[in-house]
């Protein structure tokens, strides 16, 4: 869950239509129309990245009149499906996938079971990536991949399909880096040996 207090705004007159704000938006809140950005307030998770990116310095954040609360509770969806998705991806339900919003693995999985089909929709539904925008991406992509979603990267380097996990490493890699504590870490993070490499089988 994230409580979003800010929303992006901008001055259309000096906008050059460069599209950079759209490209960095994590939640798909910006759409270009007639070479000007249109910001969907319902999708804006208040990360401020567009403001920082705009080369013309014509964007800013304003307070929302009411905070936007983004959340998908696991109860809203089939709990067994959430558990199965987490197990297939090898992501712990309680793991804070997004450490800025403390969005747990279970909530990301629930958003996908509820219908999110890509990273942008997961971000808009849960508020993940409204902080640093960096560290939560791989676990979320892995859950999307495990659910059989299309992993073709969208254009303009919005994201690339990185989903590697500790459980995927081959014997060859383990042998090449014998001092990397791979087996030891697998035992710590997966004491019940539930997880393995991500299978291609779609849930």
């Amino acid at each position: 869950m994230a409580t979003i207090k800010l929303v992006a705004d901008y001055n259309a007159d000096p906008c050059t239509g460069c599209k950079l704000c759209d490209i960095v938006c994590p939640s798909g809140a910006i759409k270009m129309e007639a070479r000007k950005p249109v910001i969907d307030e319902a999708l804006c998770i208040g990360c401020g990245r567009c403001v920082d990116r705009c080369p013309e310095d014509i964007m800013w954040m304003i307070q929302r009149s009411e905070p936007l609360v983004t959340t998908v509770h696991p109860d809203e969806v089939d709990q067994e499906a959430v558990t199965a998705l987490l197990e297939k991806a090898g992501i712990e339900a309680a793991m804070s996938v997004c450490v800025c919003t403390l969005t747990p693995g279970s909530e990301i999985a629930a958003s996908i079971i509820k219908g999110a089909k890509n990273l942008e929709e997961v971000c808009a539904a849960t508020g993940m990536r409204s902080g640093c925008g960096i560290y939560c991406v791989a676990p979320a992509l892995r859950l999307l991949e495990a659910a059989g979603c299309d992993m073709t990267p969208p254009g303009q380097h919005r994201w690339y399909p990185s989903t590697l996990s500790l459980y995927d490493l081959s014997d060859e890699v383990c042998a090449k880096y014998p001092d990397a504590y791979i087996e030891e870490d697998r035992a710590v993070f997966d004491p019940e040996h539930k997880y393995g490499p991500l299978s291609k089988e779609i849930l």
Binding site: M61, V97, L141, S162, L164, L166, V173, D185, V188
Partner: protein, 470 residues
């Protein structure tokens, strides 16, 4: 114990990401002292830099000389006069002692490469953390535009990527970092997030962080433990893509005392072994000394994100995450996004840290972690700074909990009273000494001999053996 006048910290770069420069703690609170680290650990060797404006020219002269001395031994035959070369620099180097020593090493690398190879197409690529304007600020402040004749560009985790095939599968680096035929890894060895990198192949970390897209950074931080994560930067460094372009590394070497020299060679694995040993001996002692602090209030007072501000050569994050011995590789998790389901660690909370007073620090990095203001009382000095934090999208809940105070004195008094502590520690960018109050200075000085003995006799031999460095 002798009284020491508090020392004003190194001057830092003003940034759009931080507040207007405020008077420092050392200037505002008369009772503060700056204790030379040699009073804790007499065997710490002196640094070649002081980091202070009065001696800046002499400091930089020594950095230049050390860089030239080290580079003189480097095989540069992989650089042809017709090549183009990117010098890759990373942003946290500009947080070390005001950033000038690192900047000087970078400028000297360029000069020497031109002299030695005849190659003149040398570009600087400045890797920054998150803010798109940071690189321009750095280039301007340190005079890189002039030094590199305009061949300077920033790069960050959201910039266009390039897919790189590695032994662990495809990873994504930032295209602009590698848009020349060759590159030089111009690094600094500040251990910074020692609880994450565990000093396990730390010198390689830029390959999965500074030079990498956010997806690769996420894999390193979130999909591996903090020991097994060491596979990712090594797999990238060892990849054909990197090896075809890599020429040599030049690393600004530090201890908690400051800059001690420059280590340059083509063999990054050899540099890493030397740095790791030095760090375990020096930063290891300071880290264990910080673990002796059982109650204190910390003051953020510098020109970086609060989490990464140095005091006594260690960042605030080290104090926050001092739950256990970060260098003991038998400990599976010290901090990390991937947590043991049976024994999770709250690495944004140190119960001994009773409060944080923010005199000045940058916003915008998701730092402190969202839970910190909920578990550790925070006091923001001044309404103007408070407004900056309110508008920080990366910390939306901080100002719900933090208290705005009129003055540093008021914040310190409130924090100490609420936290039931009389000890203050300052993170203001200092190396070579720790700025704190007398109560903490007395405690640390009393504890240091036992820490020195414990590290020297018990911990250091174990740490070294775990890394094959005995």
């Amino acid at each position: 114990m002798n009284a020491h006048t508090a020392i004003k910290p190194p001057a830092f770069m003003h940034s759009d990401y931080g507040p207007a420069l405020q008077p420092h703690v050392s200037e505002t609170i008369e009772s503060m002292v700056s204790v030379p680290l040699t009073e804790f650990f007499p065997n710490f060797a002196p640094a070649i830099t002081s980091g202070y404006p009065e001696t800046l020219e002499a400091d930089l002269e020594r950095v230049r000389a050390e860089t030239r001395k080290s580079l003189a031994l480097v095989d540069m035959s992989s650089i042809a006069a017709t090549d183009s070369v990117n010098i890759l620099a990373s942003e946290h180097g500009f947080g070390l002692m005001g950033g000038w020593p690192y900047a000087e090493m970078i400028k000297t690398i360029r000069e020497v490469v031109i002299e030695r190879t005849g190659c003149t197409k040398i570009h600087l690529r400045l890797a920054i953390y998150r803010g798109f304007k940071e690189a321009e600020e750095v280039a301007e402040h340190f005079g890189f535009n002039e030094a590199f004749e305009g061949r300077v560009k920033g790069l960050g985790p959201f910039d266009q990527g390039v897919e790189v095939e590695t032994v662990v599968g495809p990873m994504y680096l930032i295209k602009r970092a590698f848009d020349a035929t060759k590159f030089i890894h111009a690094y600094y060895d500040d251990p910074r997030e020692m609880y994450f990198n565990r000093l396990l192949y730390k010198s390689f970390k830029s390959f999965c962080m500074s030079y990498a897209r956010y997806e690769t950074r996420s894999v390193y931080h979130s999909m591996f433990g903090n020991r097994s994560g060491s596979v990712i930067p090594r797999a990238l460094f060892d990849s054909d893509f990197i090896q075809q372009r890599y020429t040599f590394s030049s690393v600004l070497c530090t201890t908690p005392m400051g800059v001690i020299g420059v280590d340059a060679t083509t063999d990054l694995y050899a540099i890493d072994r030397r740095i790791t040993k030095s760090h375990l001996e020096t930063y290891g002692r300071m880290q264990r000394l910080f673990a002796e602090i059982k109650d204190c209030v910390a003051i953020w007072d510098g020109g970086r994100w609060g989490y990464y501000l140095h005091g006594g050569g260690l960042i605030f994050g080290t104090l926050l995450t001092n739950h256990s011995d970060a260098f003991d590789l038998d400990q599976p998790v010290v901090a990390g996004f991937m947590q043991s389901p049976t024994a999770p660690v709250n690495f944004s909370r140190n119960k001994n840290l009773r409060g944080v007073v923010v005199n000045q620090a940058w916003v915008g990095a998701g730092i402190p972690y969202v839970t910190m203001p909920f578990t550790t009382p925070m006091y923001i000095v001044g309404e103007e700074q408070a407004q900056m934090w309110r508008e920080d999208p990366t910390n939306p809940l901080l100002m719900d909990r933090a208290t705005v105070v009129d003055s540093l004195h008021q914040g310190v008094a409130m924090a100490c009273e609420k936290g039931q502590t009389d000890k203050l520690i300052v993170f203001d960018g200092s190396y070579g000494h720790l700025t704190c109050n007398q109560a903490l200075a007395d405690l640390l000085k009393a504890r240091a001999p036992a820490v020195d003995k414990m590290v020297g006799e018990e911990l250091l031999p174990k740490w070294l053996a775990q890394r094959g460095l005995s």
